[in-house]
Amino acid sequence: MYWRSSISWAAADTGLLPLPPIVDTAWDMTEMPNIQTDPATDDSWEVAGRRFTSRLIVGTGKYKDFAQNAAAVEASGAEIVTVAVRRVNVSDPNQPVLMDYIDPKKITYLPNTAGCYTAEDAIRTLRLAREAGGWDLVKLEVLGEARTLYPDMRETLKATEVLVGEGFKPMVYCLDDPIAAKQLEEAGAVAIMPLGAPIGSGLGIQNKVTIRLIVEGAGVPVLVDAGVGTASEAAEAMELGCDGVLMNTAIAEAKDPIRMARAMKHGVIAGREAYLAGRMPTRKYADPSSPLAGLI
């Protein structure tokens, strides 16, 4: 115990580490993960009354073609995919459509509001999405500016309130701000989806502290949405206690998207298992694994 406490303070004092040792966050949390069943056999999660096994949600944009997209979804093991709502191409109605490749009866379509910069546009888009698909589980994102694609939280909160009033179950893309996350939850968001880094940047989770604080404070699922670039970063999100990860570009823009989809599947599982297992405390110096007694 001497080592644990001294390490914690030493690490914090140096300012060299971006975070206190993880032992302080994982072990000292007042509420440990509430797992009712054997996690080895059942570690499913629930959002808005729907139960899912996979904790990876994948996007369906930026792929070379629908076939590659469908193969990546299959390899990722995802049970939910995000989709956008756009005008049909009236001049060429016979071109292939997403639904021909990814069956909405097997994979849950999560309509998004990508490209919407006002609450009004986002609400309009999701009303149409509900009509196109007949479901109320949606992804709300209201963007603030094109350069960063950061969310406009004032408009996002406004839209959340209206959508919840209309019976929608919005999973909400938001800043990694624990206060904003709480406000969204109070407004009826069924999941909080903070960004790890700007959309499409692949920069990884920039602020682990805020993601952890959101997780600790949330009464609804928390998913890192945006910023993950590779499998270790998906694992990192899960190790922070997130319920899931949502990504698109990291898979679609990998040299081999299908292999990366598989990597992300394993990354999410590894991170989740590590979180549930509870990591070892960190030490400042070495600690031998073989016994010191009986040395020849």
């Binding site: 996007g59 956008a84 709502v85 756009r86 009236v90 109605p93 459509v97 379509y109 196109a132």
Partner: protein, 69 residues
């Protein structure tokens, strides 16, 4: 319906000979069960598409799901 009417579909002006929204959707080569329709700013529920009449000057948005993140 013998005479055609002038409407706007997804921002483009066009003529239609269809009497109903569902008729227009089919006229465009689309399947009503795969699209959502907004008529003059209001959602036209899919279950009513066969019954909602088209009028001269109507403005429609016809959307569907595409790939997105």
């Amino acid at each position: 319906m013998d005479e055609s009417i002038s409407i706007t579909v997804n921002g483009e002006a066009r003529q239609s000979g269809s009497a109903t929204v569902a008729g227009l959707v089919r006229e465009l080569g689309l399947k009503p069960e795969k699209v959502a329709v907004e008529l003059n700013g209001e959602i036209a529920p899919r279950s009513t598409l066969e019954n909602v009449g088209l009028r001269d000057g109507d403005v429609l948005e016809i959307v569907h799901f595409v790939g997105g993140g």
